[in-house]
């Protein structure tokens, strides 16, 4: 194997370049670390070297971090501990060099890569937007194990370092300069030359350390620090609901070691790293990381041609979804035309888009001039003007097949190749829309989730007639919009709603059994769902939910029959959160259970969280097994990605089917059998596919 580190000496400056051979990225695996150890020893003995510059030979990457595969492979606590200690010892060698050391950052500088840079005396970076710097380890359920929890707070102070480490925040070169993570920025093309020049100045002693303007009270006094830690903890608990140990543990490490003896601090960091690396949560988050990376670029068809970026987009139907989709498209600088036959609706869509831009401005994600430019890319009209030249038209009219058919028939008449017609329906048959179109091969489903700007998933629905090229073009479009796409067969509810509806329905059945809605919601949240199923029904809208439930009932029969209480709620005219009245009553930020509905049930049953969770989740596993059997999607990971990205299903469980595997298929089948018998509920009977899996000892991922 060729070397990954190359040291050359130019005019007495040591330039150490990292280049993992035959790989796109530089990764600090064990081999690279060991090699680094030898080189550093070498450098320390070469007296002619006046300063050491650590750089990368790759175009876009400095060092992407430690090797995630190695971390994933750790099975022994000691192994984890040793890895961290060993890495630290090597980075310590950099710190201990008598000569100035400078990290020259030209691209992604993450995790272990940034920890290496932190071990250097100075850090310089390029202005390029390829530069991304941060310690994202907590997102993988671990902590920065090469001294990051020690060196970053030392460099920046607590107030600045904590949010970076605890949220795994990744920043641009400009913000890195602003907050002190790097010392200088240079042009990308002259970076190395400028870095050498910078080293000369360091040697002359003419470079001064920037003083960190740290708030004295918060940084230096025990009371102030305690306050900082308290607030950080509160923030973590709010965001993670206590379900992710890594940020809390990391906070503990910093709290116990900040400003104290560094050897002890490093050791404690390694110990906690070892604990975290072995947790199932960390392993699951790593699985999720890999799934996410894969679904960002995986190919779904055999199509080999290149597909173009969408240059102009049309949206037909100016509801909340239409407005949200238009906003997202314009956000990516693609001009978009919205058509509706109601002037009022057009105004509403513009208002919806403006609202999202206003929020982005408030959160400082966008500047005023950017919002104005992007918002201006949305235009509206009552006629077909502007649709003919659109290469992607998204239909978002009301969920009524009669109207949809008219829209598709019409759109296919006024447009030519290569325009793709995509329906944003959440449950109706895309095949039927294709059949009325002049060109069914260019008709596809493109199901966004609400709110469009924030939900990372889209389902792309492929009918029997959809061409591979259409699928690839739609995937490209979805990815250009920053979404993760899964391709799904045209069955009712597609994938996500087909799984989610039984879950919400099951919650309603539990209510009918007498379990309180708060207990149900609480159990689901404890399990790791972003909100409880009953609250979710209110969010979706009882009218909408009932409509979809009805469609699924029609398609799948008895097992999807909507619970009575849903019908009662609908008949009472309750709409959910949008009208302030649903299963809960909403007043401002407060919600209280709607007693009116509870009265109609008239019995009370207390059930353990565990039992509730099983009933809610197992039924989804059961339906997911059917989806695989029917090949709605080909792989279990598509279901896991879909559920996590589309519904927020507990990310730390790595998705529904990883959860089922961990739980044991046999146990799930047993549980379902028991519930279906004791409740006399056929819908809970395990499907053949699942039973067979259990009998043959198979898992979803085996």
């Amino acid at each position: 194997m060729p070397n990954v580190w190359k040291l050359r000496i130019e005019q007495n400056f040591g330039i150490l370049e990292f280049d993992t051979p035959e790989k796109e990225v530089n990764v600090l695996d064990s081999k690279a670390m060991e090699e680094l150890r030898g080189i550093l020893k070498d450098v320390s003995q070469k007296k002619e070297i006046r300063a050491l510059l650590v750089a990368s030979a790759k175009q876009k990457i400095f060092i992407a971090g430690a090797d995630i595969k190695e971390i994933d492979g750790i099975r022994e606590k000691k192994d984890a501990f040793d890895k961290a200690e060993n890495g630290k010892a090597i980075l310590q060698m950099i710190e201990d060099l008598k000569i100035p050391t400078i990290a020259v950052i030209n691209g992604a500088c993450l995790g272990g890569g940034f920890e290496l840079a932190l071990a250097c005396d100075w850090r310089v970076a390029s202005f390029s937007d390829k530069v991304k710097i941060g310690l994202p380890e907590v997102n993988l359920g671990i902590l920065p194990g090469f001294g990051g929890t020690q060196r970053l707070p030392r460099l920046l102070g607590l107030v600045k370092a904590l949010p970076l480490i605890l949220a795994g925040k990744i920043v641009s070169s400009e913000s890195a300069l602003k907050n002190g993570m790097v010392d200088r920025l240079f042009s990308e093309v002259t970076l190395l030359g400028n870095a050498v020049h910078f080293a000369e100045e360091v040697l002359k002693g003419s470079v001064k350390r920037r003083k960190q303007k740290a708030p004295w009270f918060l940084e230096k006094t025990p009371v102030g620090r305690a306050l900082v830690f308290h607030m950080a903890r509160k923030d973590i608990l709010k965001k993670t609901k206590g379900q992710y140990p890594a940020p809390l543990k990391t906070l503990e490490v910093i709290q116990k070691t900040f400003g104290k003896d560094s050897t002890k601090g490093y050791r404690f960091e390694s110990e906690v790293f070892a604990d975290l690396a072995l947790t199932a949560i960390s392993k699951n988050l790593i699985k999720l990381f890999y799934m996410h990376e894969r679904y960002k670029k995986v190919a779904w068809t055999q199509f080999e041609g290149k597909v173009q970026r969408v240059k102009k987009c049309g949206v037909v139907g100016a509801g909340v979804m239409g407005g949200g989709i238009a906003q997202l498209v314009s956000y990516k600088n693609i001009p978009v035309r919205i058509k509706d036959i109601q002037p009022q609706a057009l105004g509403g869509a513009l208002k919806e888009a403006q609202k999202i831009y206003d929020q982005a401005r408030k959160r400082r994600k966008l500047k005023k001039h950017e919002c104005e430019y992007k918002m201006g890319l949305i235009s509206v009209g009552l006629s077909d003007d502007g649709l003919k030249r659109a290469d992607m038209i998204i239909e978002a009219v009301v969920e009524d097949m009669g109207i949809k058919e008219k829209v598709f028939e019409h759109l296919s008449r006024i447009t030519e190749a290569p325009t793709v017609l995509a329906s944003n329906t959440s449950a109706l048959s895309v095949t039927r829309m294709a059949e009325v179109s002049r060109y069914p091969e260019r008709v596809v489903g493109l199901h966004f989730f609400n709110p469009v700007s924030r939900m990372p998933l889209v389902e792309i629905i492929k009918t029997d007639k959809t061409s591979d090229e259409t699928i690839e073009r739609t995937i490209r479009f979805a990815r250009d919009l920053g979404k993760i796409a899964i391709v799904v067969k045209d069955v009712r509810g597609f994938l996500v709603n087909r799984l989610l509806l039984p879950y919400m329905n099951e919650a309603a059945f539990l209510m009918e059994e007498g379990v309180s809605q708060e207990a149900i919601d609480k159990a689901a949240v404890q399990f790791g769902m972003p909100m409880g199923p009953i609250e979710l029904v209110d969010h979706v809208g009882i009218d909408v939910g009932y409509k979809v439930a009805h469609i699924l009932h029609e398609a799948y029969g008895e097992r999807m029959k909507p619970a009575k209480v849903l019908e009662t709620a609908k008949d009472k005219g309750l709409l959910g959160k949008k009208s302030g009245k649903g299963f809960y009553l909403y007043k401002g930020r407060k919600k209280t259970p709607n007693q009116d509905l509870q009265k109609t049930i008239g019995k009370k049953l207390s059930m353990s969280s565990d039992e509730i969770q099983k009933q809610l989740i197992y039924i989804m596993v059961n339906e997911a097994a059917r989806c695989l059997e029917e090949r709605v999607v080909e792989e279990p990971s598509s279901i896991d990605v879909g559920m996590i990205m589309g519904t927020g299903f507990a990310p730390f469980r790595a998705g529904l089917l990883h959860y089922a595997d961990d739980e044991g298929i046999g146990k799930v089948v047993e549980g379902l059998k028991k519930m279906s018998e004791s409740k006399r509920a056929g819908r809970l009977r395990p499907c053949d596919y699942l039973v067979k899996m259990a009998d043959s000892g198979k898992t979803f991922y085996s």
Binding site: P343, L350, K351, E372, M375, L377, G386
Partner: protein, 425 residues
Amino acid sequence: MGRMAIVEGVRTPFIKSWTLFNDIPAQRLGAWCIQELIQKTEIDPTLVDEVILGCVGEPVEAANVSRVASLYGGIPEEKPAYTINRNCASGFEAVTSAYEKIKLGRDSVVLAGGTESMSNAPFIFSKETGNLLLQLQKAKSLGARLNVISKFRFKHFAPIPALKLALTDPVCGLGMGQTAEVLAKEFGISREDQDAFALRSHQKAIEAKERLKEEIMPVFVPPKYKEMIQEDNGPREKQSMQALAKLKPAFDRKSGTVTAGNSSQITDGACVLLVMDEDKAKSMGYEILGTVREYAYTGLDPSRMGLGPVFAIEKVLRLASLKLQDMEIVEINEAFAVQVLACLEAISSAVFAKKYLPGSGPLGKINTDILNVNGGGIALGHPVGTSGARLILTCLKEMKRRSLHRGLVSLCVGGGQGGAIILER
């Protein structure tokens, strides 16, 4: 090289300044039109060679407002754009500049028009105040700073409306309204005649409301997007001679006859036309609105700028070898009622012709039945940089409705100029 064709055009509703479009800058008004025109004609924006917009009071924050509107409107960044200023004829000049470029073969597809937000004309400080502020910025010590501060007087903080400066002629020193008074006196045109003309303008505009929608794009006003607006808000349904008579003279308090009621309104609005080489337009399958037969600009005494059309019409007819009687429809911009009335009189007057148009003699009478048939600047408003383009669009759409062959469009220009275009279809 073929003729220049005007393929299509759109304009925003013309909105009285400081009302609905108060917060919309000129670059956005222009962008709306560009964007809508692209949708309406379904032209591929990469085919557009250039964008030329007229604007008189360019927004301080959008130098070369045409470029900003072009990018906002979705024209690719590699396509150039420039802003043009021939005062009230700026929208005209944009179209005739495009004509020249297309005739020369430099461009074949151009978006030409005008945009103006008179609501957003800035308030400025005097030069003296500017000097003091500069000194204050340069002052280093506290003492020096206090010294400069002590020089400030109350008057230094009195802002000057830029709009007022823009509507005053720096050569003859008269405001535009005062030049109208000059014509009222010269031609002896009464207050009643002026008011009657103004009233007709409103009546015609009200009657034309539905027709005008053919050229007006619907607009939702940000940030509330409350309602769809597709009507000019200048025309008054209840305008009457009595109401007009109540108004005080605006420019000559004692003996004047020109009032706010018989002058054009201060208005915000934009208008953009898609113009192309005629052959190209036809090869792309466009049904064109019309072509430019000939155009002309002339200069005259700035204090009588309102007579500009007389001279420009004489010239354009001469260049085209046509007679006034050949024109089946006429638009003369209504800067002031008296100014249009003066033009009508001058153009048919042997005395006037003898003195000022020695080469041609009187041009003949303009039939008022075919003049400004959908109302004019008095009712619709006169966003200065835009009006030229609006007149061309309105005239062409009317020619289409009436199946006419030839039309004449003209306007007077602050600073003492006139412009005229002969349109054909």
